[in-house]
Assembly symmetry: D2
Homo-oligomer: 343 residues x 4
């Protein structure tokens, strides 16, 4: 069986393993205060062109989301998210477990607009009993979204403008950031994205690392005491340099972007094959996740040789997710394309 069900099937890029091997018996202090983490921080600050940004390394996405959100909100405040947002669906209520409501907004493709946020804020501000409702106090989006879709620079600017107007910190979940940035349809650079939000994270787990997400805090007001939050929520890795090693390698010689680009190329080949085979899509994605609509027969046939993800039904068709990653081989992609031609 060949696996396309997720983008965390394999281990890590060879450079990372090599660096771990080389540095294995080094003695360093713990908790992310070592020189390797420091070097990784500097590379990321350089990549976003902001030497004042705080950079923290966490282990996983859910952990990162709950810590960032819990660090920002006061007890009676909630976070605005698309109803399809990862924090609203696939984190077992991690945000609620920290005491906060996820205020979910309708979304066709996984994105939300500045106007939707504006409407939420205006309704709240004009509610004469506003203290009886959760106070919307920050905005969460994912780039790319859970559906593989992207915000255009214009959409993101509009959203951030509204957030700024209402003093809502904007947090971008970049679990798949590289796959968004390297999409042929994307018109935003990492530098620009870092200036169109207050805090975001660069996903490592799905983009070449064994694990790890790099939180980048650009807004000064959000920087204070963040390490206390990490420690309290169990996110502070004792051998923190393992995280430093991974991001130091990923941000050396643009490795992060190169391997992301490869995943996109594989995905676009698959997308093209679907178009040629007249296989419809559930969402119009130009990133590494493709959502195909397959009949039961097609799904069954595909599953005979490939492992994919089942995302439920749309009408009577099955929503099937196919993921590529930094590790996807041309051979496996070719094999999948062959199959797609015949179903």
């Amino acid at each position: 069986m060949i696996h396309f069900e997720s983008d965390y099937l394999e281990g890590a890029h060879e450079n990372i393993l090599k660096r771990m091997q080389e540095s294995n018996l080094m003695q360093t202090c713990g908790y992310g205060m070592d020189e390797i983490c420091e070097s990784a921080r500097k590379r990321i600050q350089k990549a976003i062109g902001n030497s004042k940004a705080d950079v923290h390394f966490l282990v996983g996405g859910t952990q990162t989301n709950l810590i960032v959100i819990d660090a920002i909100l006061r007890p009676y405040q909630g976070v605005i998210s698309a109803e399809s947002g990862h924090i609203n669906v696939h984190e077992t209520g991690a945000v609620e477990a920290c005491g906060h409501k996820v205020i979910s907004l309708k979304s066709e493709d996984g994105t939300i607009s500045g106007n939707q946020v504006k409407e939420v804020m205006e309704n709240h501000l004009h509610d004469s009993n506003k203290e009886h409702t959760v106070q919307p106090a920050m905005v969460y989006i994912s780039f790319p979204t859970e559906n593989g879709t992207l915000y255009s620079k214009k959409q993101l600017k509009d959203l951030y403008q509204v957030c700024t107007h209402y003093h809502l910190p904007l947090f971008i979940d970049g679990a798949r950031l590289g796959y968004g940035l390297m999409s042929e349809k994307n018109d935003i650079t990492l530098k620009e994205l870092s200036k169109l939000c207050d805090v975001f994270y660069i996903g490592g787990t799905k983009v070449g690392a064994l694990f790890g997400e790099a939180v980048v805090i650009t807004k000064d007001a959000l920087k204070k005491d963040f390490r206390y939050m990490i420690k309290q929520r169990g996110g502070m890795l004792a051998k923190g340099r393992m995280l430093g090693i991974q991001f130091d390698e990923l941000f050396k010689d643009d490795l992060y972007f190169k391997i992301s680009k490869h995943a996109i190329e594989m995905a676009m080949q698959i997308k093209q094959a679907c178009i040629e085979a007249s296989i419809p899509f559930a969402y119009e994605s130009f990133t590494n996740q493709q959502f195909l609509l397959l009949s039961d027969t097609q799904y069954k046939k595909l599953s005979s040789k490939f492992v994919v993800s089942d995302f439920g039904k749309k009408n009577d068709m099955n929503i099937i997710r196919i993921c590529t990653s930094w590790a996807t081989t041309q051979n496996n992609t070719d094999a999948l394309i062959e199959m797609l031609k015949t179903i």
Copy 2:
């Protein structure tokens, strides 16, 4: 100005004040363990025909909802509710503040069906990554609903049957229970309702008391250590007998039902007047809350003499809530009806 904006505008029924006066200098122990609370408990157990039910007296609705729900759920579990449910909209995220997600279901009129709950459970149970999502673990409904609508005995039986099948405790918010039970359209008795759920509360604040809700726990598994929960969440009144006095009076000689019936009569007179004046309704309510659809002009005119509640817009009409209560006078009702005839 005459007030119809809520059902907690006045103080308490005279019998309650009289009893407070008489018993004022009695010395009793605190925290609800006194003889007056004991007497009130017995009256409620008698009224529901279940001497084994646990009865606890709390101060207010939000407090009651959060304590009951927090007492039942484990950290990763959530409560199913109509999206219009009070816990989902008007309690400032009190349930989330206890760590739990409110799993909201679409609802036209404020009720949810057994089939909707069944669908939630089946989707969860068949999710291969179910531990990535909040586990639905109890059901919350209000009777009557926030829109003044009611569950028929058949609807409630169907819902409870589904809950029982999936081992979901069913919790009924009875903040306005009297006004539901005494509605001409209601076909459920208090005794029956107490057998069609696992825990519910009898609202006092809106039905003749100064404050107070009586939680009735019929399911043994939910009884353990409930007083610890009350105390921890700040719900244990030092002079607990004040709550006992109110429910002892309300359940003496069916006072609770008599005063509820009065509120319904006033509401039905108003409803009739609306029908005759061809004023449409936002919801088809036969309880003490009536939701009128008024044009801006009508709303303005009404507001010249009456205080009502604004529940937003439906298309271009204003949703106006008019509440009656145990304390609503025939005079005020007549005055309102006169006005309704002319707008």
Copy 3:
């Protein structure tokens, strides 16, 4: 049996019941925004000589403590308290349930000193791994303490100076404030106390009211959005005017102070009787709570006619709490004194 086990045995001062009676059928808006609450707020602002202070009315002490503390702290912060502090012992972990550690300090008599707080802060600030420990971020004291003891003006000034130096808000639990202020040993006025902390509350439940605590916030930084906190934690009373009525009466013509003084007079008579009968005390209290050390025989004899509170053992003696209150009669006091003479 005559009861001396607590200071919340009876109902409320007659003026309060009278006012409830008179105003019972008034129609007012809810949630503490009515004119009676407004009048009560003004009386309290006048009593402390600060028209800018925010005044909120809550139902009970545990509720008040958890809401004030939760409103002030960020998730990784804790509150400093004497180990005997009410929040640390008798609130079922209400503060922890909001996510915060109570950092407890040793205390002989229930008070803590500025030097103790200074030591905690210096240890934390000089800890190279400080983010691995809870950040001390506010100080909680009770006046009088749970042991009936008091802070002198000098002690409170020293403590507040340290708090100010380390930017620690100081919160004073005044559940029995009146009984502290009217003690013959007290040298602090209400006005002065209000200036030697950032937030405090005036206890009503134990001092003449049916229930109710008035939170007074003097520090601007702590005022924002407090009503959201009250609502979320279930502390917002629908018929809020009931709280307004009680504090409006208590702060009319110094009633609060007069009835507190009466309780102290009764307590001092009892204290004098103990001294004459050579009955030792567990704590040197000049407030309404007296802690006697009685042998088993003495305790047994006392209990034949009087209900008192058992506070455990000190060596082989029983710590017995006797409370007076605004409602304690001279007759009951005389009867108790007679008994104390003979045991």
Copy 4:
């Protein structure tokens, strides 16, 4: 500089890196459901002689402690721990952040006794107002303790007997389990330890792994839905096999025990050197952590060549922690011993 300040200075045992290298491009499903995790689980079940135990792999110690404790307790319950327990001191209030009080017990050496737990329980059960206090509901101990001390088999049996009598689950924090089990003074086997508690964890981070703790749940009542807890608290690693690889290697050919034994040998050489140099100890430790009492001069001299941990003062002496680990070399140990001879 040579480092002895902690036992997580280096990377991982070479076998682990080798296995990561070999398996790097394997495609496996995520979240710990892969075949490598399955193999590691079986090895651990074999090592404890219990094929029915649930084994879960988490990333770090604080995360493990908070998830296990939060999974066991109901909202109003607390966990009993030595005041020096890691959860009470060095986890930034992680347990409180989940809503639970740590009920701390005095301890000279870091251990607590069955009698201490019995006293807590008896006091609580005989408290007539018990619902006003946190309900003690589980016991947390560390083996070895934070001070390097151990429980004898007799002590642990006594403690567990008391826990069983009061229905208190006993949780053993085994962050340094290997270093305890291989101590010459230890008389408990892993098999025996697994039967003298209800849940425990095998520390990997400090004993040869890059990171990772293996939670072993032997009590059936504690097994349900544990994976929901892991996910909600951000402890579920996407590429879960990384954890499987580490424990599969550590429990192959007793590697875990062999490398632990090495650390103990290095520590005992250092301990012997201290004795010969008449350097006193703060605690009588026979595990990999040694707590020396050094004068300022001695401390200064030691620090010229070695990095150690400062654990504060005992009288006028400095408490200095020296840690060995699986990675400590004989050369570094010899160098340290040389130094100890001369100071």
